[in-house]
Structures are given as structure tokens and as C-alpha cells.
Symmetry: none
Subunit: 124 residues, 4 copies
């Protein structure tokens, strides 16, 4: 059995995921300026290099663009954001279904549970 506690999920990966979520969820809008590496790293309490690595990854994915002199920006390519969001959702769904399956719920059960599920109005 795999007993690896997620304590060791690389920090820069966690940063990537967090920022990715903020972008695809719209917390950061396309074209928004991103704070300087140094500020972000200080804010997050990590080394600038670590933050740099995370941002580099986001740029590689296409969610950010860099202008050497004027800073970083959220991509203005809506298509990429949309696609990333759909991939993310698909993965969430997949994991969710896998978990539910392991609990013994089949697809029909899941649909029923979801249909009956009352949406909370207040959201934390």
C-alpha cells in the first residue's frame, strides 16, 4: 500500500496548482498583471527561485506571458484558459467518480445523489 503522505508534494507544484486554479476560476482575469517574482515569493514565504520555477511552469503551460522588462501577465489567450479549465474539470470529475465507484456507487447512483443534493446557498 502506498503510504506517501502528500507532505512532500513539491512546493513549486503546489504554487502552480494554486495559481492555475485562480486563473481558470477567474480570480485572475486574462491580461492581469502578476506581481513581481520577489513580491510573490515573499508573500508565499518561499525562495524567489522556487516561485520563479512555478511561474516558469505556468508560462510553459501558456497561462502566463512574460515581458522581460515589464513583468508577468496572465495570458490574454482565452482559448488556453478555457482548455485548461476543461481539462481540470475533467480530471476532477474522473477522480470524483473513481472515489465514488470505490465506495460502491455506480454512475446511476451518483447522478441520483447529485440530483438530490441540495445546493448550499451560503458558501462559507
Amino acid at each position: 500500500m502506498a503510504w506517501d503522505f502528500d507532505s512532500d508534494r513539491a512546493i513549486y507544484i503546489q504554487i502552480v496548482e494554486r495559481l492555475k486554479f485562480m486563473i481558470i476560476s477567474g480570480a485572475y482575469k486574462k491580461g492581469d498583471k502578476v506581481s513581481p517574482v520577489r513580491d510573490l515569493s515573499k508573500e508565499a514565504g518561499v525562495n524567489p527561485n522556487t516561485m520563479q520555477k512555478a511561474l516558469g511552469e505556468l508560462e510553459r503551460i501558456g497561462l502566463m506571458q512574460t515581458s522581460r522588462t515589464s513583468g508577468r501577465y496572465i495570458t490574454d489567450d482565452e482559448e488556453i484558459i478555457k482548455r485548461t479549465k476543461e481539462e481540470f474539470a475533467e480530471e476532477k470529475i474522473s477522480l470524483f467518480i473513481k472515489d465514488m465507484n470505490r465506495l460502491g456507487y455506480d454512475k446511476k447512483d451518483i447522478l441520483n445523489l447529485l440530483t438530490d443534493f441540495k445546493m448550499e446557498e451560503k458558501d462559507e
Copy 2:
């Protein structure tokens, strides 16, 4: 923004969740004997105290029972297991929906996505 990386998300909590999942998913059956704390802790690579704390929590919940003389057992109270499972599922659903909401999918969207989602044939 909260930048606490889950490096320190209490390990015992992670153990509790893992074992809870194994019980409600049927990997551990009702009445099964649970391995000694020392074995479990070694297997998981954690301090025995940590494992002890996790098992204590499971006992508190009612999923395990301790007989001072013959060790620890999974509860044989099916009702508790069933109820825990339902709560667990409900929470999974709730979290899932919250995530999807934050991505901009409403309940109808989610149902559509799930309906269209093609189940994987191979499982784990």
C-alpha cells in the same frame, strides 16, 4: 491569500481518512482484526504515537473497537459503517460541487458533464 503549503497537514489526519476510506469501501470488513499499532506504524513509516492517535480517532468515530485483551477490531456495527459512508460520500459530493461551482459550472452543467463522462473500464 493563505499560502500555507500542506507540508504539515497533520499526518494522523491523513491516516484517519485513509483507514476510514478502506473501511467504508469494504477493503476492511466489519469485524476484521486490525494489525497491532507497532506494525501499522512501521508499515506507514510514522511514529507509533501518531498511529495511536489515528486509531483513537477511528475508535471515537465508532469505526473501530478495542478489547483490552485481544486487540483492535473493525466495528461489526454495519449501521455505523453505512452512515459514515453516506456522510463521507455527501462530503465528497459537496466538495466536488463547490470546486465545480468555483470553476463556473452550475448544477445543470455538472449533471451534463457527468452524464457525458465515459467511465474508464480499467480501475486502478
Copy 3:
């Protein structure tokens, strides 16, 4: 006019290009074991992190594969190597033609020059 002397082409980029060329030219064969990061970095006289970055890039491109415990290997996916090689050649050709154009040779001239060019038998 751009007077940037290539003195500042990032070292890790130069390493990437060099290794890429060795792979697509067949100096490194598919599946070959790559020396450990530390050895390579010492050999090249750079910091291990710099070499790591270069190798990471090559892995990202798909020319190398990493096995956490047993080291790095040249990819065994011939298709990727072939494709990379073709892209590389295409770029070389493009640059070559652009240079020749600027010298005043058009495509026909270039073909004539190449046809007349006597291959050297001894190579350096």
C-alpha cells in the same frame, strides 16, 4: 542594429542544444544511459543545478526519460528523435537560405552552388 554578442546565451541553453544535437545526430543512441547530473555538471564545469535545468528541458522536449532511482536515459522513442531532427534540419535550412538571400543568392543560385560544391572527403 542589434549588437548583442552571443556571449550571454544562457549556458543551460547551450548545453541543451549541444546534447540535442548529439542525440539527433546519433552520437547518443536511443536508450543510452546518460551520466549522472553531478558527473555531467563537473565535466562541463557548471553547477549541478544548471545541468539539471538543461536535462529537465531535454526531458520536457521528450528526448530524455528519467527514472528517479536509476538515472537518466535517452528516450527510446525513435519517432521523437526523428521529428526533432527534422525540425532542427528545417531550421538550419531556413537560416542558411536567409543568409544566402541576404548575400544576393536566390533559390536557383543556391541550388547551383550546392550542386557544384565538391564534397570534402576528409572531414576536418
Copy 4:
């Protein structure tokens, strides 16, 4: 393996090649006056001595002429320019072919690739 990164590929050589290219490509015409060393060096961001060395080399080659009183000029000897251009092209071709050979393309392959290569319409 030779791991010398071109960080120190003599800058004056790079300048020589650049200026040589500008002359043989016609960006500088025969007989044109050359800007003063001090201006050129400032423009290129190099030490005047470095620029001086480069210009001296170009003079040695015969592409520039110095009149002690009125400054430096591009040679008005078309023959030299033409010859230099042909040598330059020959070298480009030679290097190009050597690279392609190392990639595994023989002369026939190269001619095919070039024939198929579609010229870009826009040229800087």
C-alpha cells in the same frame, strides 16, 4: 568532449564577421564612409580598442581603407568585395553541408530538402 561555452568567443571576431557581412551583403556600399571608431564602439557597447582591432582586421582583409587624414572607408575595389562574398558563401555552404552530413543527410537529401523548402515571403 569540449565543453567550452562560447561566453568568450572573442567579441572582436564577432564584430568582424558582422561588418564583413554588412559589406558583402551590400548594407554598406563600396566607398562609404565608416563612422569613427569611438562612435562605433559606443554603439556596440564595446571598448574602443576592441572595435579598433576589428576594423584593423577588416583593413587587413582589404575590405576597408584608411586615409590618415579623412577617416575610414569601405573599399572601392569591387573585386575584393565580390571575392570575399564568394569565399563567405562557400564557407557558409561548407558549414551547412557539414552540419547536415552529421545529421545523416547526404548531398542528394540536402538538394531535395532545399528544393522542397518553401521560401518565406516576408524577409525582415
